[in-house]
């Protein structure tokens, strides 16, 4: 796979229109690496001018901030902003709602002002602008439910873009008991991803997975690497043969990219 690295492009005097911010999960987590690749295939197919930071990318600081470590967050943020500004980045696309939220909402106060786009919005716009076409068929009539990530939905009010993409795939979108602004968290936010849950009588991802199972869907569509992990683990422990797929992976499969 050929992926343009920003520093190499710059040395050739090229400046891409978009920076694809991969995120830690997208770089290191096995499930999320598949999402990264799927989205890269979509970018290539649509002939988008983009690059990634590669070795220059680092954590946005989100898990540190949500844990309460404002120092570490700001240190990460300021050094990331320094790199982004040195490349004169205008547009950032990310497949992670946590990176999306942090760069979009919390970097401006520290001197980082970018147009930040979540990949579900980006894909939806590509389809609308006919930059990629969806032939449909692959998911025709299949029941698919969509799990809203907190940091895309409630945190930033993006509920429709991912749903519009699913509908364009000719799938039958079914909603869970709690959805959109009332959606139930997967359990990973607020740095919970990196710790054992506190004592309780159930794990949050199991509760959410049960809601998904009740919709009788064949696929749970997600748009966040942490939700992806939590829902996949939930399905495994419920021993359900339900695929948990990111919106980008669904396009990849439908279009055989």
């Amino acid at each position: 796979m050929k992926v343009p690295i920003l520093s190499e492009l710059k040395s050739r005097g090229e400046s891409p229109e978009y920076l694809f911010w991969i995120g830690c999960a997208g770089s290191f987590d096995d499930r999320s690496k598949k999402v990264t690749k799927a989205f890269i295939k979509i970018l290539n197919k649509a002939n988008i001018s983009y690059a990634i930071l590669g070795k220059e990318e680092s954590c946005t600081g989100d898990p540190a901030k949500r844990s309460g470590n404002e120092f570490l967050f700001q240190m990460k943020a300021i050094s990331n902003i320094e790199i982004l500004n040195s490349y004169d980045i205008k547009n950032v696309i990310t497949t992670c709602p946590h990176c999306f939220n942090t760069i979009k909402n919390e970097y401006p106060d520290l001197g980082g002002n970018y147009n930040v786009i979540h990949h579900t919005t980006f894909i939806n716009n590509l389809i609308k602008d006919n930059k990629i076409t969806i032939s449909g068929g692959f998911y025709k009539g299949k029941k698919i439910t969509y799990h809203d990530p907190c940091y895309l939905g409630r945190a930033n009010g993006i509920y429709e873009a991912p749903r519009e993409v699913i509908e364009k795939l000719d799938a039958e979108l079914v909603e869970m008991k709690s959805c959109k602004s009332k959606s139930l968290c997967c359990g990973a936010g607020g740095a919970q991803m990196f710790k054992e849950p506190e004592k309780g009588n159930e794990d949050i991802n199991i509760k959410r997975s049960e809601e998904a199972i009740k919709t009788d869907s064949k696929i749970v569509a997600v748009s966040c690497p942490f939700c992806n992990t939590m829902m996949s683990d939930g399905m495994t422990s419920k021993q359900k043969d339900i695929d948990v797929l990111d919106i980008a992976q669904m396009i990849e499969k439908a279009e055989d990219l």
């Binding site: 290191f28 680092s58 990196f194 506190e198």
Partner: protein
Amino acid sequence: MISILPNIIFTFLLIISVGFFSLNIRKLIKVIKLGKAVDRFDNPSKRLSNMIMIALGQSKMVNKPISGILHLIVYIGFIIINIEVLEIIIDGITGSHRFFSKIFNTYIYNFLIASFEILALLVLISVIVFWSRRNIVKIKRFLSAEMKGWPKFDADNILYFEVILMLLFLSMNATDLILQERNYDNYYSAGSFPISTFLVPLFDSLSTSSVYYLERIFWWSHIIGIFFFLNYLYYSKHLHILLAFPNTYFANMEDKGKFNVLESVKNEVLLMFYPEKASQNNQNIDKFGASDVLDLNWVQLMNAYSCTECGRCSSECPANMTGKKLSPRKIMMDTRDRLEKVSKNIAKNKGKFIDDGDRLLDNYISKEELWACTSCNACVEACPINIDPLSIIMDMRQYLIMEESSAHPDLNNMMNNIENNGAPWPYNQQDRELWIQET
């Protein structure tokens, strides 16, 4: 001779009750102002429209349709019936009887009184349903651990109060109607009584003078009840009927995912990276985060007084619904309880807080509660008046990490990784491109 003694007594009671109430409200404002500064004065037109939609228009209440509609009835009843209270006050001061009947034409006055009565009945029914939901149906969110003792007593008190006030109002009208029919003294025919007319048989067999005394007892009890209820507000969760308005006006209007960038930390970090950009005269560095109520900002403190303990936040909280200790409602109740104690301490010590060996963290809100939060914003979204429990949780987490270095142990690993490898997991930053080669 018409004695003016009742008018003097009435005016005296009015002044006492309104005076005591204003005194408490002034105290309340002073306590809220103990909070740290936060700028919530921008964009007044959007703030006003939020307040009109959410507080006045109750737009978020109807997210739960049953309690939403019942609440709407009680709320409209409360506002409309206040017109009648105004008439009662004028009558009380001047000695007139049904003053508005003299200034409005008969049809309007009849319409007003009839609509007050219908609303009073609807309020009565709603309040009985509310009571049943708490005491018979036993809806889960009203029975949580934090709802034992005073909160439960307070919630029931309010409902009993409303029942008593509505019954007194209708009985007052019923006896008035009898006196009107009997052409007693200045009880000339005024008003239309579609509901209290059904109560007439209860009193109709009594002598006119008995009915007259009963009417006076109902009239006085009703208005004294209102004076008492007014002054009960300050001590009760029922303060929300007033504070819902400023609370929605001053609520956070940014995207819910945007958490404040802490200015005190920003300066420290700038000193490390760009000393030329940092403020040099930053002598009194604040404590980082919050361990007690005086570390919170005034909107968070106002939030605590505005909370009416409905528990919609906690019933939507993923941690709470899976049996964790965290309850966003309890965060707000604890903040108010602690603030009450701190403000009494300050009042006693002539404006200065003397350490009482107590604090919000640990003694009210445990670390376990704080670490259970997923920062999902469900509680903020669920609150009918835009209270933000999450902001308090985050401020307290900041204190835990930056002042006490008592992070959850798992999180220490994650933060070490971020610091050393630029990722929450132990992978090297130099390996960030490895996925490209993998098939």
